[in-house]
Amino acid sequence: MVSRPHAKSARAREIREVHKPSRATRLFITWRKLRKSALAVIGFGIILIVSISALLAPIIAPYDPQWSGSSRRPPSMENFFGTDNRGRDMLSLIIYGARISLYVGIGAVLIEVFLGLTIGMIAGYFGGLIDEILMRISDVVLTLPQLMLLILAVSMFKVRGLHVIVILMGALGWPLMARVVRSEFLSLREATYVEAAKSVGASNWRIIIHHILPNIMSTIVVLATMDIPWYIFYEATLTFLGFGDPSSSSWGVLLEKGYMYTTSSWWMITFPGLALLFTSLGFNLFGDGLRTALDVKVRE
Protein backbone atom coordinates (compact mmCIF):
# COMPACT_ATOMS: atom_id res chain seq x y z
CA MET A 1 0.00 0.00 0.00
CA VAL A 2 1.27 3.42 -0.88
CA SER A 3 1.84 5.55 2.16
CA ARG A 4 -0.16 8.73 2.28
CA PRO A 5 1.94 11.65 3.54
CA HIS A 6 -0.97 13.81 4.65
CA ALA A 7 -2.30 11.05 6.85
CA LYS A 8 1.07 10.91 8.58
CA SER A 9 1.09 14.63 9.18
CA ALA A 10 -2.43 14.47 10.55
CA ARG A 11 -1.20 11.87 13.01
CA ALA A 12 1.75 14.07 13.89
CA ARG A 13 -0.56 16.99 14.56
CA GLU A 14 -2.69 14.79 16.74
CA ILE A 15 0.33 13.77 18.79
CA ARG A 16 1.40 17.36 19.10
CA GLU A 17 -2.02 18.39 20.23
CA VAL A 18 -2.09 15.71 22.85
CA HIS A 19 1.30 16.65 24.22
CA LYS A 20 1.09 20.38 23.99
CA PRO A 21 -2.21 21.73 25.22
CA SER A 22 -3.15 25.21 24.05
CA ARG A 23 -2.43 28.19 26.27
CA ALA A 24 -6.09 28.48 27.28
CA THR A 25 -6.18 24.82 28.23
CA ARG A 26 -3.04 25.14 30.31
CA LEU A 27 -4.45 28.14 32.12
CA PHE A 28 -7.62 26.20 32.75
CA ILE A 29 -5.71 23.20 34.12
CA THR A 30 -3.74 25.47 36.43
CA TRP A 31 -6.93 27.14 37.59
CA ARG A 32 -8.57 23.77 38.26
CA LYS A 33 -5.61 22.68 40.39
CA LEU A 34 -5.56 26.01 42.18
CA ARG A 35 -9.26 25.81 42.94
CA LYS A 36 -8.70 22.60 44.83
CA SER A 37 -6.58 24.42 47.39
CA ALA A 38 -8.88 26.43 49.63
CA LEU A 39 -5.99 28.57 50.82
CA ALA A 40 -5.02 29.57 47.29
CA VAL A 41 -8.61 30.58 46.59
CA ILE A 42 -8.67 32.68 49.75
CA GLY A 43 -5.39 34.27 48.65
CA PHE A 44 -6.83 35.02 45.24
CA GLY A 45 -9.92 36.52 46.88
CA ILE A 46 -7.76 38.78 49.06
CA ILE A 47 -5.76 39.98 46.06
CA LEU A 48 -9.03 40.66 44.28
CA ILE A 49 -10.40 42.68 47.21
CA VAL A 50 -7.22 44.75 47.47
CA SER A 51 -7.13 45.32 43.70
CA ILE A 52 -10.77 46.38 43.59
CA SER A 53 -10.24 48.81 46.49
CA ALA A 54 -7.28 50.26 44.65
CA LEU A 55 -9.08 50.59 41.32
CA LEU A 56 -12.41 51.82 42.63
CA ALA A 57 -11.09 53.82 45.60
CA PRO A 58 -13.11 56.98 44.80
CA ILE A 59 -16.33 54.92 44.71
CA ILE A 60 -15.67 52.65 47.68
CA ALA A 61 -14.03 55.05 50.12
CA PRO A 62 -16.63 56.68 52.37
CA TYR A 63 -14.77 60.01 52.40
CA ASP A 64 -12.39 61.90 50.18
CA PRO A 65 -8.83 61.31 51.46
CA GLN A 66 -8.48 65.06 51.94
CA TRP A 67 -11.71 65.37 53.94
CA SER A 68 -11.09 66.23 57.55
CA GLY A 69 -13.21 66.16 60.64
CA SER A 70 -12.15 66.25 64.25
CA SER A 71 -8.71 64.78 64.73
CA ARG A 72 -7.87 61.41 66.30
CA ARG A 73 -11.45 60.33 66.77
CA PRO A 74 -11.72 56.65 67.79
CA PRO A 75 -13.54 54.20 65.49
CA SER A 76 -17.24 55.01 65.31
CA MET A 77 -20.18 54.61 62.95
CA GLU A 78 -19.11 57.70 60.99
CA ASN A 79 -15.45 56.71 60.78
CA PHE A 80 -15.16 52.94 60.98
CA PHE A 81 -11.40 53.02 61.49
CA GLY A 82 -11.31 56.37 63.32
CA THR A 83 -9.55 59.51 62.13
CA ASP A 84 -5.86 60.42 62.03
CA ASN A 85 -4.04 63.36 63.62
CA ARG A 86 -5.26 65.65 60.84
CA GLY A 87 -8.83 64.45 61.17
CA ARG A 88 -8.80 62.43 57.96
CA ASP A 89 -10.84 59.24 57.73
CA MET A 90 -8.49 56.27 58.31
CA LEU A 91 -10.61 53.82 56.30
CA SER A 92 -10.55 56.06 53.24
CA LEU A 93 -6.82 56.65 53.60
CA ILE A 94 -6.22 52.90 53.80
CA ILE A 95 -8.38 52.24 50.74
CA TYR A 96 -6.47 54.87 48.77
CA GLY A 97 -3.22 53.47 50.20
CA ALA A 98 -3.94 50.16 48.45
CA ARG A 99 -3.20 51.97 45.18
CA ILE A 100 0.27 52.89 46.38
CA SER A 101 1.06 49.47 47.82
CA LEU A 102 -0.02 47.63 44.69
CA TYR A 103 1.87 50.08 42.51
CA VAL A 104 4.99 49.60 44.66
CA GLY A 105 4.76 45.80 44.75
CA ILE A 106 3.87 45.21 41.14
CA GLY A 107 6.08 47.98 39.77
CA ALA A 108 9.18 46.75 41.57
CA VAL A 109 8.46 43.13 40.64
CA LEU A 110 8.10 44.02 36.95
CA ILE A 111 11.50 45.70 36.98
CA GLU A 112 12.99 42.79 38.92
CA VAL A 113 11.56 40.23 36.47
CA PHE A 114 12.74 42.19 33.46
CA LEU A 115 16.30 42.53 34.79
CA GLY A 116 16.48 39.08 36.37
CA LEU A 117 15.17 37.39 33.26
CA THR A 118 17.48 39.22 30.89
CA ILE A 119 20.58 38.79 33.03
CA GLY A 120 19.84 35.19 34.02
CA MET A 121 19.05 34.28 30.43
CA ILE A 122 22.28 35.72 29.06
CA ALA A 123 24.38 34.16 31.84
CA GLY A 124 22.75 30.74 31.63
CA TYR A 125 22.50 30.42 27.87
CA PHE A 126 25.86 31.80 26.83
CA GLY A 127 27.88 30.77 29.88
CA GLY A 128 31.63 31.36 29.94
CA LEU A 129 33.11 34.74 30.79
CA ILE A 130 29.79 36.62 30.53
CA ASP A 131 28.26 34.21 33.03
CA GLU A 132 31.20 34.60 35.38
CA ILE A 133 31.05 38.41 35.30
CA LEU A 134 27.27 38.59 35.74
CA MET A 135 27.30 36.15 38.63
CA ARG A 136 30.09 38.05 40.41
CA ILE A 137 27.99 41.21 40.10
CA SER A 138 25.01 39.39 41.56
CA ASP A 139 27.24 38.21 44.44
CA VAL A 140 28.14 41.79 45.17
CA VAL A 141 24.54 42.97 45.17
CA LEU A 142 23.57 40.06 47.40
CA THR A 143 26.32 40.70 49.95
CA LEU A 144 24.88 43.81 51.53
CA PRO A 145 21.49 43.20 53.15
CA GLN A 146 18.82 44.42 50.78
CA LEU A 147 17.25 46.83 53.25
CA MET A 148 20.61 48.42 54.05
CA LEU A 149 21.49 48.66 50.37
CA LEU A 150 18.15 50.36 49.78
CA ILE A 151 18.77 52.84 52.59
CA LEU A 152 22.20 53.60 51.10
CA ALA A 153 20.79 53.96 47.60
CA VAL A 154 17.87 56.11 48.69
CA SER A 155 20.19 58.50 50.51
CA MET A 156 21.83 59.24 47.15
CA PHE A 157 18.76 61.21 46.19
CA LYS A 158 17.78 64.56 47.55
CA VAL A 159 14.14 64.02 46.66
CA ARG A 160 12.76 60.78 48.04
CA GLY A 161 9.98 60.14 45.56
CA LEU A 162 7.91 57.00 45.44
CA HIS A 163 8.96 56.26 41.84
CA VAL A 164 12.62 56.46 42.81
CA ILE A 165 12.05 53.91 45.56
CA VAL A 166 10.18 51.55 43.23
CA ILE A 167 12.91 51.75 40.60
CA LEU A 168 15.67 51.24 43.19
CA MET A 169 13.92 48.23 44.72
CA GLY A 170 13.50 46.61 41.30
CA ALA A 171 17.01 47.51 40.25
CA LEU A 172 18.54 45.96 43.37
CA GLY A 173 16.17 43.00 43.56
CA TRP A 174 17.17 41.07 40.45
CA PRO A 175 20.03 38.79 41.63
CA LEU A 176 17.96 35.95 43.08
CA MET A 177 15.63 35.92 40.09
CA ALA A 178 18.63 35.98 37.75
CA ARG A 179 20.16 33.01 39.56
CA VAL A 180 17.03 30.92 39.33
CA VAL A 181 16.58 31.76 35.64
CA ARG A 182 20.24 31.00 35.02
CA SER A 183 20.14 27.58 36.62
CA GLU A 184 16.96 26.70 34.70
CA PHE A 185 18.66 27.77 31.49
CA LEU A 186 21.76 25.75 32.34
CA SER A 187 19.75 22.56 32.55
CA LEU A 188 17.31 23.29 29.71
CA ARG A 189 20.17 24.24 27.40
CA GLU A 190 21.04 20.54 27.27
CA ALA A 191 17.46 19.40 26.66
CA THR A 192 16.88 17.26 23.57
CA TYR A 193 14.29 19.63 22.17
CA VAL A 194 16.80 22.47 22.27
CA GLU A 195 19.28 20.24 20.47
CA ALA A 196 16.57 19.44 17.90
CA ALA A 197 15.81 23.13 17.39
CA LYS A 198 19.52 23.84 16.94
CA SER A 199 19.89 21.05 14.40
CA VAL A 200 17.20 22.54 12.17
CA GLY A 201 19.03 25.85 12.33
CA ALA A 202 17.04 27.88 14.85
CA SER A 203 18.79 31.05 15.99
CA ASN A 204 19.83 31.63 19.60
CA TRP A 205 17.07 34.12 20.19
CA ARG A 206 14.45 31.84 18.65
CA ILE A 207 15.53 29.02 20.95
CA ILE A 208 15.54 31.27 24.01
CA ILE A 209 12.17 32.86 23.33
CA HIS A 210 10.22 29.99 21.77
CA HIS A 211 11.75 26.92 23.35
CA ILE A 212 13.25 27.68 26.74
CA LEU A 213 11.31 30.68 28.02
CA PRO A 214 7.84 29.03 27.91
CA ASN A 215 9.23 26.23 30.06
CA ILE A 216 10.42 28.49 32.87
CA MET A 217 7.47 30.87 32.88
CA SER A 218 5.76 29.08 35.75
CA THR A 219 8.86 29.36 37.94
CA ILE A 220 9.09 33.07 37.21
CA VAL A 221 5.40 33.67 37.89
CA VAL A 222 5.61 31.91 41.27
CA LEU A 223 8.77 33.76 42.31
CA ALA A 224 7.34 37.10 41.21
CA THR A 225 4.07 36.57 43.07
CA MET A 226 5.91 35.78 46.27
CA ASP A 227 8.19 38.80 45.88
CA ILE A 228 5.34 41.32 45.67
CA PRO A 229 4.65 41.35 49.44
CA TRP A 230 8.39 41.77 50.11
CA TYR A 231 8.51 44.96 48.09
CA ILE A 232 5.38 46.25 49.80
CA PHE A 233 7.09 45.54 53.14
CA TYR A 234 10.35 47.16 52.07
CA GLU A 235 8.55 50.34 51.01
CA ALA A 236 6.62 50.44 54.28
CA THR A 237 9.77 49.77 56.33
CA LEU A 238 11.83 52.38 54.47
CA THR A 239 9.06 54.92 54.94
CA PHE A 240 8.66 54.03 58.57
CA LEU A 241 12.39 54.50 59.19
CA GLY A 242 12.20 57.90 57.52
CA PHE A 243 13.67 57.07 54.11
CA GLY A 244 10.41 57.02 52.20
CA ASP A 245 8.31 59.50 50.31
CA PRO A 246 6.58 61.52 53.05
CA SER A 247 4.25 63.18 50.54
CA SER A 248 2.59 59.90 49.54
CA SER A 249 0.00 58.37 51.80
CA SER A 250 1.17 54.79 51.67
CA TRP A 251 0.46 52.46 54.56
CA GLY A 252 4.04 52.98 55.69
CA VAL A 253 3.50 56.73 56.00
CA LEU A 254 0.28 56.15 57.95
CA LEU A 255 2.19 53.86 60.32
CA GLU A 256 5.00 56.34 60.73
CA LYS A 257 2.49 59.05 61.69
CA GLY A 258 0.61 56.69 63.96
CA TYR A 259 3.86 55.77 65.72
CA MET A 260 3.83 59.14 67.48
CA TYR A 261 0.34 58.48 68.83
CA THR A 262 0.84 54.83 69.79
CA THR A 263 -0.03 55.54 73.40
CA SER A 264 -3.25 57.47 72.81
CA SER A 265 -4.66 56.40 69.44
CA TRP A 266 -4.26 52.65 68.90
CA TRP A 267 -6.36 52.71 65.72
CA MET A 268 -3.80 54.82 63.91
CA ILE A 269 -1.26 52.00 63.92
CA THR A 270 -3.57 49.01 64.06
CA PHE A 271 -5.48 49.38 60.81
CA PRO A 272 -2.70 50.29 58.37
CA GLY A 273 -0.70 47.35 59.77
CA LEU A 274 -3.63 45.00 59.35
CA ALA A 275 -3.96 46.21 55.76
CA LEU A 276 -0.31 45.32 55.16
CA LEU A 277 -0.75 41.93 56.81
CA PHE A 278 -3.92 41.20 54.84
CA THR A 279 -2.38 42.09 51.47
CA SER A 280 0.82 40.21 52.11
CA LEU A 281 -1.12 37.17 53.31
CA GLY A 282 -3.11 37.24 50.06
CA PHE A 283 -0.03 37.17 47.88
CA ASN A 284 1.70 34.53 50.00
CA LEU A 285 -1.31 32.22 50.04
CA PHE A 286 -1.81 32.63 46.32
CA GLY A 287 1.89 32.18 45.61
CA ASP A 288 2.01 28.99 47.71
CA GLY A 289 -1.02 27.61 45.90
CA LEU A 290 0.40 28.54 42.54
CA ARG A 291 3.66 26.83 43.39
CA THR A 292 1.88 23.59 44.23
CA ALA A 293 -0.44 23.81 41.22
CA LEU A 294 2.37 24.50 38.76
CA ASP A 295 4.68 22.06 40.56
CA VAL A 296 7.51 24.57 40.82
CA LYS A 297 10.47 23.65 42.99
CA VAL A 298 12.28 26.74 44.17
CA ARG A 299 14.78 26.74 46.96
CA GLU A 300 13.59 29.22 49.54
Binding site: L144, P145, S155, M156, F233, G273, L277, N284
Partner: protein
Protein backbone atom coordinates in the same frame (compact mmCIF):
# COMPACT_ATOMS: atom_id res chain seq x y z
CA UNK B 1 41.20 19.22 45.74
CA UNK B 2 41.77 19.15 49.45
CA UNK B 3 39.84 21.17 51.95
CA UNK B 4 42.82 23.44 52.48
CA UNK B 5 43.16 24.46 48.85
CA UNK B 6 39.39 24.92 48.73
CA UNK B 7 39.48 27.33 51.65
CA UNK B 8 42.41 29.22 50.19
CA UNK B 9 40.67 29.48 46.81
CA UNK B 10 37.49 30.76 48.45
CA UNK B 11 39.49 33.31 50.41
CA UNK B 12 40.94 34.60 47.16
CA UNK B 13 37.46 34.83 45.66
CA UNK B 14 36.48 37.21 48.44
CA UNK B 15 39.05 39.72 47.22
CA UNK B 16 37.41 40.71 43.89
CA UNK B 17 33.94 40.67 45.47
CA UNK B 18 35.10 42.91 48.26
CA UNK B 19 36.85 45.21 45.79
CA UNK B 20 33.63 45.60 43.75
CA UNK B 21 31.59 46.23 46.89
CA UNK B 22 34.00 48.91 48.04
CA UNK B 23 33.67 50.66 44.66
CA UNK B 24 29.87 50.54 44.84
CA UNK B 25 29.75 51.88 48.39
CA UNK B 26 32.21 54.63 47.53
CA UNK B 27 30.34 55.70 44.40
CA UNK B 28 26.90 55.63 46.04
CA UNK B 29 28.03 57.76 48.93
CA UNK B 30 29.95 60.20 46.80
CA UNK B 31 26.87 60.71 44.65
CA UNK B 32 24.87 61.60 47.74
CA UNK B 33 23.87 65.23 48.05
CA UNK B 34 25.16 67.51 50.75
CA UNK B 35 28.61 68.79 51.68
CA UNK B 36 30.32 66.75 54.41
CA UNK B 37 32.20 69.79 55.70
CA UNK B 38 28.96 71.75 56.04
CA UNK B 39 27.44 68.71 57.73
CA UNK B 40 30.29 68.78 60.26
CA UNK B 41 29.32 72.27 61.37
CA UNK B 42 25.61 71.51 61.20
CA UNK B 43 24.63 74.84 59.61
CA UNK B 44 26.72 77.06 61.89
CA UNK B 45 28.50 79.89 60.03
CA UNK B 46 32.12 79.04 59.19
CA UNK B 47 34.67 81.24 57.39
CA UNK B 48 35.35 79.97 53.83
CA UNK B 49 39.10 79.61 54.53
CA UNK B 50 38.37 77.15 57.31
CA UNK B 51 36.11 75.15 55.00
CA UNK B 52 38.87 75.06 52.38
CA UNK B 53 41.46 74.00 54.94
CA UNK B 54 39.30 71.16 56.25
CA UNK B 55 38.51 70.07 52.68
CA UNK B 56 42.22 69.85 52.04
CA UNK B 57 42.88 67.98 55.28
CA UNK B 58 40.13 65.46 54.50
CA UNK B 59 41.40 65.08 50.96
CA UNK B 60 38.05 65.87 49.38
CA UNK B 61 39.58 68.53 47.15
CA UNK B 62 41.29 65.70 45.23
CA UNK B 63 39.83 64.04 42.11
CA UNK B 64 37.37 61.26 42.90
CA UNK B 65 39.56 58.29 41.84
CA UNK B 66 42.42 59.57 44.00
CA UNK B 67 39.97 59.84 46.87
CA UNK B 68 38.87 56.25 46.26
CA UNK B 69 42.39 54.88 46.38
CA UNK B 70 43.22 56.89 49.49
CA UNK B 71 40.10 55.45 51.11
CA UNK B 72 40.87 51.91 49.95
CA UNK B 73 44.41 52.23 51.26
CA UNK B 74 43.05 53.22 54.66
CA UNK B 75 40.60 50.32 54.61
CA UNK B 76 43.46 47.88 54.00
CA UNK B 77 45.14 49.28 57.08
CA UNK B 78 41.90 48.65 59.00
CA UNK B 79 41.16 52.36 59.18
CA UNK B 80 37.42 52.58 58.60
CA UNK B 81 37.11 56.33 58.80
CA UNK B 82 36.15 58.97 61.31
CA UNK B 83 32.64 59.99 62.27
CA UNK B 84 31.90 63.69 61.81
CA UNK B 85 29.00 63.46 64.20
CA UNK B 86 30.54 61.54 67.08
CA UNK B 87 34.12 62.77 66.53
CA UNK B 88 35.42 59.23 66.99
CA UNK B 89 36.83 56.49 64.74
CA UNK B 90 34.09 54.43 63.08
CA UNK B 91 35.83 51.16 63.98
CA UNK B 92 35.59 51.97 67.70
CA UNK B 93 31.93 52.90 67.40
CA UNK B 94 31.12 49.73 65.46
CA UNK B 95 33.11 47.66 67.92
CA UNK B 96 30.87 48.88 70.73
CA UNK B 97 27.69 48.10 68.82
CA UNK B 98 28.46 44.65 67.44
CA UNK B 99 28.17 42.76 70.77
CA UNK B 100 24.70 44.20 71.36
CA UNK B 101 23.51 43.17 67.90
CA UNK B 102 25.08 39.74 68.28
CA UNK B 103 23.36 39.29 71.63
CA UNK B 104 19.99 40.07 70.08
CA UNK B 105 20.58 37.95 67.00
CA UNK B 106 22.05 34.93 68.74
CA UNK B 107 19.32 34.68 71.35
CA UNK B 108 16.55 35.23 68.82
CA UNK B 109 18.13 32.78 66.42
CA UNK B 110 18.62 30.04 69.01
CA UNK B 111 15.06 30.34 70.28
CA UNK B 112 13.47 30.42 66.84
CA UNK B 113 15.61 27.55 65.59
CA UNK B 114 14.49 25.42 68.53
CA UNK B 115 10.80 26.21 68.07
CA UNK B 116 10.96 25.88 64.29
CA UNK B 117 12.68 22.48 64.40
CA UNK B 118 10.32 21.18 67.07
CA UNK B 119 7.15 22.29 65.29
CA UNK B 120 8.47 21.64 61.79
CA UNK B 121 9.29 18.02 62.54
CA UNK B 122 5.90 17.37 64.12
CA UNK B 123 4.12 19.10 61.24
CA UNK B 124 6.00 17.05 58.66
CA UNK B 125 5.66 13.72 60.44
CA UNK B 126 1.96 14.27 60.96
CA UNK B 127 1.29 15.90 57.62
CA UNK B 128 -2.30 17.07 57.13
CA UNK B 129 -3.03 16.75 60.85
CA UNK B 130 -4.55 19.55 62.91
CA UNK B 131 -1.11 20.40 64.35
CA UNK B 132 0.31 20.64 60.85
CA UNK B 133 -2.54 22.81 59.60
CA UNK B 134 -2.45 25.15 62.58
CA UNK B 135 1.31 25.59 62.67
CA UNK B 136 1.50 26.04 58.90
CA UNK B 137 -1.20 28.67 59.03
CA UNK B 138 0.54 30.33 61.97
CA UNK B 139 3.81 30.36 60.04
CA UNK B 140 2.10 31.87 57.03
CA UNK B 141 0.61 34.63 59.13
CA UNK B 142 3.92 35.21 60.92
CA UNK B 143 5.65 35.34 57.57
CA UNK B 144 3.14 37.89 56.26
CA UNK B 145 3.31 40.22 59.26
CA UNK B 146 5.53 43.30 59.01
CA UNK B 147 7.85 42.98 62.01
CA UNK B 148 8.03 46.71 62.71
CA UNK B 149 4.27 46.85 62.94
CA UNK B 150 4.03 43.96 65.37
CA UNK B 151 6.73 45.74 67.41
CA UNK B 152 4.55 48.85 67.63
CA UNK B 153 1.53 46.80 68.64
CA UNK B 154 3.57 44.97 71.28
CA UNK B 155 4.85 48.26 72.70
CA UNK B 156 1.33 49.67 72.81
CA UNK B 157 0.01 46.57 74.53
CA UNK B 158 2.71 45.22 76.84
CA UNK B 159 4.46 48.45 77.73
CA UNK B 160 1.87 51.17 77.50
CA UNK B 161 -1.36 49.38 78.42
CA UNK B 162 -0.04 46.81 80.85
CA UNK B 163 3.16 48.58 81.86
CA UNK B 164 4.95 45.23 82.06
CA UNK B 165 8.02 45.68 79.94
CA UNK B 166 10.44 48.52 79.19
CA UNK B 167 10.20 50.12 75.76
CA UNK B 168 13.68 51.24 74.89
CA UNK B 169 17.37 50.83 75.47
CA UNK B 170 19.38 48.09 77.12
CA UNK B 171 19.13 49.24 80.70
CA UNK B 172 16.83 51.52 82.70
CA UNK B 173 18.35 55.00 82.60
CA UNK B 174 19.53 56.46 85.87
CA UNK B 175 18.52 53.45 87.92
CA UNK B 176 20.68 52.43 90.90
CA UNK B 177 21.13 48.69 90.95
CA UNK B 178 21.42 46.94 94.29
CA UNK B 179 23.48 44.09 92.86
CA UNK B 180 24.86 42.87 89.53
CA UNK B 181 21.98 40.37 89.46
CA UNK B 182 19.48 43.17 89.60
CA UNK B 183 21.24 44.89 86.70
CA UNK B 184 21.20 41.66 84.76
CA UNK B 185 17.51 41.18 85.48
CA UNK B 186 16.82 44.70 84.26
CA UNK B 187 18.79 44.01 81.09
CA UNK B 188 16.92 40.77 80.47
CA UNK B 189 13.62 42.62 80.82
CA UNK B 190 14.79 44.97 78.09
CA UNK B 191 15.63 42.00 75.90
CA UNK B 192 12.18 40.40 76.05
CA UNK B 193 10.27 42.50 73.54
CA UNK B 194 12.88 42.94 70.79
CA UNK B 195 13.92 39.29 70.83
CA UNK B 196 10.34 38.01 70.92
CA UNK B 197 9.48 40.02 67.83
CA UNK B 198 12.53 38.79 65.96
CA UNK B 199 11.66 35.25 67.04
CA UNK B 200 8.14 35.57 65.63
CA UNK B 201 9.36 36.38 62.15
CA UNK B 202 12.32 33.99 62.03
CA UNK B 203 10.42 31.05 63.44
CA UNK B 204 7.80 31.42 60.71
CA UNK B 205 10.58 31.54 58.15
CA UNK B 206 12.58 28.59 59.48
CA UNK B 207 9.48 26.48 60.17
CA UNK B 208 8.64 26.43 56.47
CA UNK B 209 12.15 25.25 55.62
CA UNK B 210 12.26 22.57 58.32
CA UNK B 211 8.84 21.25 57.36
CA UNK B 212 9.50 21.07 53.63
CA UNK B 213 12.94 19.51 53.95
CA UNK B 214 11.65 17.01 56.53
CA UNK B 215 8.88 16.01 54.12
CA UNK B 216 11.49 15.55 51.42
CA UNK B 217 13.77 13.47 53.64
CA UNK B 218 10.95 11.25 54.86
CA UNK B 219 10.39 10.08 51.30
CA UNK B 220 13.98 8.91 50.89
CA UNK B 221 14.88 5.23 50.52
CA UNK B 222 17.10 5.12 53.59
CA UNK B 223 14.15 6.05 55.78
CA UNK B 224 12.21 3.14 54.31
CA UNK B 225 15.24 0.94 55.03
CA UNK B 226 15.44 2.17 58.60
CA UNK B 227 11.79 1.42 59.12
CA UNK B 228 12.11 -1.97 57.41
CA UNK B 229 14.90 -2.86 59.84
CA UNK B 230 12.28 -2.47 62.53
CA UNK B 231 13.73 0.62 64.19
CA UNK B 232 11.48 2.56 66.46
CA UNK B 233 9.75 5.49 64.74
CA UNK B 234 11.38 7.86 67.23
CA UNK B 235 14.85 6.64 66.26
CA UNK B 236 14.03 6.83 62.56
CA UNK B 237 12.91 10.41 62.85
CA UNK B 238 15.34 11.84 65.34
CA UNK B 239 18.48 9.91 64.43
CA UNK B 240 18.10 9.25 60.74
CA UNK B 241 15.90 11.95 59.31
CA UNK B 242 16.61 14.95 61.53
CA UNK B 243 20.35 14.89 60.88
CA UNK B 244 19.79 15.44 57.20
CA UNK B 245 17.14 18.06 57.81
CA UNK B 246 19.43 20.12 60.01
CA UNK B 247 22.01 20.47 57.27
CA UNK B 248 19.96 22.74 54.96
CA UNK B 249 18.46 24.51 57.97
CA UNK B 250 21.82 25.46 59.45
CA UNK B 251 23.29 26.45 56.10
CA UNK B 252 20.23 28.50 55.38
CA UNK B 253 20.70 30.37 58.63
CA UNK B 254 24.34 30.96 57.78
CA UNK B 255 23.56 32.40 54.38
CA UNK B 256 20.79 34.64 55.62
CA UNK B 257 22.93 36.50 58.13
CA UNK B 258 22.56 39.68 56.08
CA UNK B 259 18.83 39.28 56.01
CA UNK B 260 18.77 38.71 59.77
CA UNK B 261 20.93 41.78 60.29
CA UNK B 262 18.51 43.92 58.28
CA UNK B 263 15.55 42.58 60.24
CA UNK B 264 17.38 43.35 63.46
CA UNK B 265 18.12 46.88 62.22
CA UNK B 266 14.44 47.74 62.09
CA UNK B 267 13.73 46.28 65.51
CA UNK B 268 16.81 47.94 67.01
CA UNK B 269 15.65 51.30 65.68
CA UNK B 270 12.20 50.94 67.19
CA UNK B 271 13.45 49.82 70.59
CA UNK B 272 16.43 52.23 70.59
CA UNK B 273 18.68 49.20 71.01
CA UNK B 274 22.12 50.70 70.37
CA UNK B 275 23.33 47.97 68.03
CA UNK B 276 24.84 47.95 64.57
CA UNK B 277 21.51 48.13 62.74
CA UNK B 278 20.26 51.09 64.70
CA UNK B 279 23.63 52.78 64.15
CA UNK B 280 23.31 52.18 60.41
CA UNK B 281 19.83 53.72 60.26
CA UNK B 282 20.73 56.72 62.40
CA UNK B 283 23.93 57.44 60.43
CA UNK B 284 21.97 57.27 57.19
CA UNK B 285 19.31 59.65 58.41
CA UNK B 286 21.91 62.07 59.80
CA UNK B 287 23.80 61.76 56.50
CA UNK B 288 26.97 60.89 58.40
CA UNK B 289 28.65 59.57 55.26
CA UNK B 290 32.06 58.45 56.57
CA UNK B 291 30.35 56.41 59.25
CA UNK B 292 27.92 54.98 56.74
CA UNK B 293 30.79 53.96 54.47
CA UNK B 294 32.62 52.38 57.39
CA UNK B 295 29.60 50.40 58.58
CA UNK B 296 28.77 49.29 55.04
CA UNK B 297 32.26 47.94 54.51
CA UNK B 298 32.32 46.19 57.88
CA UNK B 299 28.87 44.66 57.29
CA UNK B 300 29.90 43.47 53.84
CA UNK B 301 33.03 41.87 55.30
CA UNK B 302 31.01 40.19 58.04
CA UNK B 303 28.56 38.74 55.53
CA UNK B 304 31.35 37.54 53.23
CA UNK B 305 33.13 35.83 56.11
CA UNK B 306 29.89 34.31 57.41
CA UNK B 307 29.13 32.91 53.96
CA UNK B 308 32.63 31.47 53.70
CA UNK B 309 32.33 29.84 57.12
CA UNK B 310 28.97 28.39 56.16
CA UNK B 311 30.41 26.93 52.99
CA UNK B 312 33.32 25.38 54.87
CA UNK B 313 31.10 24.03 57.63
CA UNK B 314 28.77 22.59 55.03
CA UNK B 315 31.53 20.76 53.22
CA UNK B 316 32.95 19.49 56.51
CA UNK B 317 29.63 18.10 57.66
CA UNK B 318 28.48 16.61 54.40
CA UNK B 319 31.07 14.24 52.93
CA UNK B 320 29.16 14.17 49.63
CA UNK B 321 30.20 17.74 48.86
CA UNK B 322 33.16 17.90 46.52
CA UNK B 323 35.35 20.97 46.55
CA UNK B 324 34.98 22.15 42.99
Amino acid sequence: MTLRTYVIRRLFLIVPTFFLISIIIFVIINLAPGDPVRAMFAGRPVPPETVERIRHELGIDQPIYTQYFIWLGRLLRADFGYSYIYYRPVADLVGEKIPLTLELMLIANAVSLTIAVFLGVIAAVKQYSITDALSSLGALIGYSTPNFWIALVAIAFFSVQLGLLPVEGVQTEGMKFASPFHALYDHLLHLVLPTSILVLGWTAYLFRIVRSSMLEVLMQDYIVTARAKGLKERVVIYKHALKNVMLPVVTYTGYSIGFLLAGAAVIESIFSWPGLGQFWVSSASQRDYPTLMGISVITALMVLIANLCTDIAYSLVDPRIRYD
